[in-house]
Amino acid sequence: MNAQKENFLLAVEGLTVSFDGFKAVDDLSFYLDPKEIRVIIGPNGAGKTTVLDLICGKTRATAGSIRFGGKELTKMKEHQIVHAGVGRKFQNPSVFEDLTVFENLEVSYSQGHTVMGALAFKRDAAVVEAVESIAETIFLSDQLNEPAGLLSHGQKQWLEIGMLLIQKPDLLMLDEPVAGMSVAERKKTAELLRVITRDHTVLVIEHDMQFVGDIADRVTVMHQGKVLSEGSIEHVKQDPKVIEVYLGH
């Protein structure tokens, strides 16, 4: 078992969290291979977002373990988890509206993360280059000096993804990255994700089955805090338990 675990990038085992007795995630286990694209789907309230919260340390687990590249995440602080290589995008775009796009990306740049480091941080050529290259990836090269508050909803989503990319994480977690996007933006986002997935492991929560089908290696279906089904998109679509949950009520 142990030997097997080492091969996974992320191993979630027996993960449980309860809020005042309500188990939002209940004895959940799943494993991610390196460079895998995994999509979690499930009806509202299934505990999908909570899983991401648990992995990135926003919520503390009641029981269970999350091992990531050999480190136990449940005992680590949020910023340490980020430094371990986990990046997380929130459901509602959360960018720094008072800062420019450039500054948003610069803040996320993986240097000057301590107080003293941030005080001594210089905007050198390497920084500018990194920011500009990411900006190009996320289609925001022309908006570099605009305050992020003026961006459209979709652009903010991209910016937030860009802010994750500049951290160079091993695992990217995206919570409904295309929610609220126009069709055109949706297409561009799918394109963006395909670029990203070339060299990152990605964990996505998504509702749009078309989109899921486009990107997912494997799909995990959650229901009432537990794994209902897991496998390829075709596999889970056929699973009677999944059909029951989605159509049965």
């Binding site: 980020v82 720094f96 500054e103 803040v107 941030a118």
Partner: protein, 389 residues
């Protein structure tokens, strides 16, 4: 940070604002005012230190501290202890039962200088303590609170309670602290009589000099990446956290910075006014400092300075002309600022005066060449509220 040389900076829009303030404080006021009024301005300026701290802590980082008076007071007490020891030579106090200790200790049957007073015989220790003591307390409070993610309203109320505790403690331990009277009758600093007009004017200029030093330090922090992280933290704390920052340590830093600045202000206050009393440690001065900052513009360092100057000048002016009306005026000022121009004077300036500047043929064109950095966000809203623990 885009400017490379100091000279370039001084001719930029921001630099000109700093120059104007310097002109006002160094040239205009000393020429216009007699030593008595100038000393009063000096006193107001000591509050500006606390206000600058609040701009960093509250305006930039969104942490409202109602304990700024505590740090101001601690800095002031450190300086007062040194001056009191200097004033309490065995000769000057030969009528006491125990000569050589401060008079209030003698009144309280204390026969030996308490241990924590001893190091204050040294001036260099005192200078360090003026900053170190407030910073240390801020560090302890900050670590305890921010690591536990106490924020927003809760933080404000807890700091207020700490101000209350410290006041009661200082008043209660009057044998050690001078009690409600405070530490009074301070006369000389290293043999130099600080009560003369000459000394007061000198101290005024020292105060102005230090103020600019502190302004530049604060400005440096604001313009470093650290400053952007503070603003980012105010608006999207979680995003900062999940961008790999230990948010708590940044908060601790800025809280300590504010405390240190307030401590310097307090020490200068003691020097210029000649005494220190627990009424500066309490709740009322702490809230007043927040008001200076709010009136000047909570996002603007210079706004904080102008806020401290104007509110205090108004307070003195009003209370001389209409003593029974000034609480109404002050109250109305608080409410008016908050309701009508939440970004304070700095916000008003940006909205109404800056557009006018452009119409001036020469200056307008000159100033237009560098784009004004937006100091304040368009809409003020306390993101803090979303962050209740």
């Amino acid at each position: 940070m885009k400017t490379n040389s100091p000279l370039q900076w001084l001719t930029s829009r921001e630099g000109i604002y700093y120059l104007l303030l310097a002109l006002l404080l160094v040239v205009v006021l000393p020429l216009l005012l007699d030593p008595f009024r100038l000393n009063m301005v000096g006193k107001y300026l000591t509050y500006a230190f606390a206000a600058i701290g609040l701009v960093m802590c509250w305006g930039k980082a969104g942490i409202l501290s109602l304990g700024q008076g505590v740090f101001f007071g601690l800095g002031g007490y450190c300086m007062a202890m040194f001056l009191k020891l200097e004033a309490s030579t065995p000769e000057a106090t030969k009528n006491q039962s125990t000569p050589g200790i401060p008079d209030f200790m003698d009144w309280n049957q204390i026969t030996e200088l308490p241990g924590f007073w001893q190091p204050f015989h040294s001036f260099s220790f005192t200078l360090i303590a003026v900053i170190a003591v407030p910073v240390l307390l801020a560090f302890i409070i900050g670590v305890a609170m921010f690591k536990r993610r106490v924020g927003g309203v809760y933080f404000a109320i807890i700091t207020q309670a700490i101000a209350a505790i410290l006041t009661i403690l200082i008043i209660g331990q009057q044998g050690l602290t001078g009690g409600v009277n405070g530490i009074t009758d301070l006369q000389t600093l290293m043999g130099w009589n600080i009560r003369t007009d000459m000394a007061k004017t000198t101290l005024y200029f020292v105060c102005v000099g230090l103020l600019f030093l502190c302004l530049l330090v604060a400005r440096h922090v604001q313009n470093a990446k650290l400053g952007r992280i503070l603003v980012a933290m105010r608006d999207q704390e979680n995003r900062v956290r999940f961008s790999g920052y230990d948010v708590a340590s940044f908060k601790v830093f800025v809280f300590c910075l504010a405390a240190g600045l307030a401590g310097i202000g307090g020490a200068l206050f003691t020097l210029q006014v000649g005494f220190m009393s627990p009424s500066f440690v309490g709740i009322v001065p702490s809230i007043e400092m927040v008001v200076f900052c709010a009136l000047g513009g909570r996002y603007s360092l210079l706004g904080g300075v102008y806020g401290a100057l104007l509110v205090n000048a108004a307070k003195s002016g009003f209370s001389e002309s209409f003593p029974e009306l000034w609480p109404y005026a002050m109250g109305a000022l608080f409410i008016g600022v908050v309701l009508a121009f939440p970004n304070g004077l700095a916000g008003l300036y940006e909205r109404y005066i800056m557009p006018l500047e452009k119409r001036l043929p020469v200056i307008g064109k000159y100033l237009d060449k560098d784009k004004p950095a937006p100091q304040a966000p368009p809409v003020v809203s306390d993101q803090l509220s979303a962050e209740k623990p």
